[in-house]
Amino acid sequence: MNIQAIKEQFPILQQEVNGHPLVYLDSAASSQKPRSVIDAISRYYETDHSNVHRGVHTLGSRATEAYEGAREKVASFLNAAHPEEIVFTRGTTTALNLVASSYARSVCKEGDEIVITPMEHHSNLIPWQQAAKATGATLKYIPLQPDGSLSLADVEKTITPNTKVVSVTYVSNVLGVVNPIKEITAIAHRNGAVMVVDGAQSTAHLKIDVQDLDCDFYAFSGHKMCGPTGIGALYGKKSLLEKMEPIEYGGEMIDFVDLYESTWKDVPYRFEGGTPIIAGAVGLGAAIDFLQQIGLDEIDKHERRLAAYAYDKLTAMDGITVYGPSSNRVGLVTFNLGDIHPHDVATVLDSEGVAVRAGHHCCQPLMRWLNVSATARASFYLYNTEEDIDRLADALLKTKEFFGHAIG
């Protein structure tokens, strides 16, 4: 994997920010886009655009082909059994809300349980909170180990025959920990529950095989994996999707409409009311091509190396607290620098051209568990190098120095 050659394919990375070459370490929030994805989107608008699924004309067919072609790409990327198991959504959040609103609300009743973890992103927490409130089901949390990881013994204890839904993130966007999804899925199934995976942080970095994981639903966002914003997908086992009611009604999702009664299209179309984000799907398809050309295994290896390098480098620095387990982590390092507030850290890093995230990362319950109000986070992707992490470390030293003077 030639990182320099990869980096050159990302126009946005070829710039200076505040007088320094940009080091972009916020890919967990949103990744940057390679030239091939940007070009695929413009080419689509320049030559093929039209609405899908209705045009009788050539452009209508081309747009439909491009959109459905992207669905096939996503299906094969996740190793889904059928393209119909892929529902295009705005992203992970919409996908998870679809499962919580349609599946969980129709299945759960009082006395049932929905099981999640305290490390969930708000997008995989609030939909379940609301579903529990609406149905009278109990929301239960699998506790975290002291280092932030999950133990299968705790999973076994928390999931019971009353559990109807288990929803867990594959990779934590704060702790970087990779959760044992396959094992949790097996436990969920043994208890008769369906397994939902929040794949927002895993799809860009790990090779995903939904059939091997045997999960029932899998949600992800295109923008975190080199694709555009506004597009993502929900994978759902066909037998389950077929049982689900749409949550949005309107054009494109209907079969037959009468004044007082209507029927719906087959899956996945019944969940895609309205004109979809066609260019977004095209861009996502191009992103998948890009990632597959490099190889997800290669990307995974590179990122684990970067994460380990950053983890070691940062833990070796004086006055830094690094959160999350020391091993089996992907793509990011979350930390605090003494008692300097992470916003202040991020501002000084930005002045050195280093972009990191500071705040609660949409994980307020996890922040409370960590006993902090906020943290800083450096997250990596295939275009980052060890040198970028050295720049981060140097900038952190400057931050300490700066605040040492300012505060001390």
Binding site: H341, H343, D344, T347, S351, G359, H360, S373, A406, I407
Partner: protein
């Protein structure tokens, strides 16, 4: 990007030695406000008598900018009428927009003018002032 524009000495002094940090128990007007995007939070308490802010205290957690802004704001509004305090909040908004604004009542606030060049931090600086506005609205 000049960090010294942002982190002026006065600001760091207020961060290190916050004024009016604490709570009151005598029938104070209490406003809790947080910045949901970053997790900063503030509790502002105002002791009000006949439309005048007699005392102001705050607690909370946040970055140097949000906490020093709260410290300065509480200093500035003590003894001010609601009208005067509101006018000051308006002036503070102007300052954040990069417009010239003078705080004769409490000049130290002007040290926060540099925040204007760091758009990502404006929300931090305005948190305490938004709490003040909310407190006054509640009273009116």
């Amino acid at each position: 990007m000049q960090l010294d524009d942002l982190y002026r000495r006065v600001i760091m002094d207020h961060y290190k030695n916050p004024r009016n940090r604490g709570t009151m128990d005598n029938e104070a007007v209490t406003i809790n406000l947080n910045n949901p995007t970053c997790g900063d939070r503030i509790q502002l308490q105002l002791q009000v008598e006949e439309g005048v802010v007699k005392d102001a205290r705050f607690t909370g957690e946040g970055c140097s900018i949000s906490m020093s802004s709260a410290s300065m704001m509480t200093e500035a509004v003590k003894g001010k009428t609601f009208g005067e305090a509101q006018a000051m909040a308006e002036k503070f908004s102007a300052l954040m927009k990069g417009e010239p604004a003078e705080f004769e009542e409490y000049e130290e606030i002007e040290a926060l003018s540099g925040v204007n060049k760091f758009p990502a931090r404006i929300k931090c600086a305005t948190l305490a002032w938004n709490a003040l506005r909310k407190g006054i609205e509640q009273q009116q």
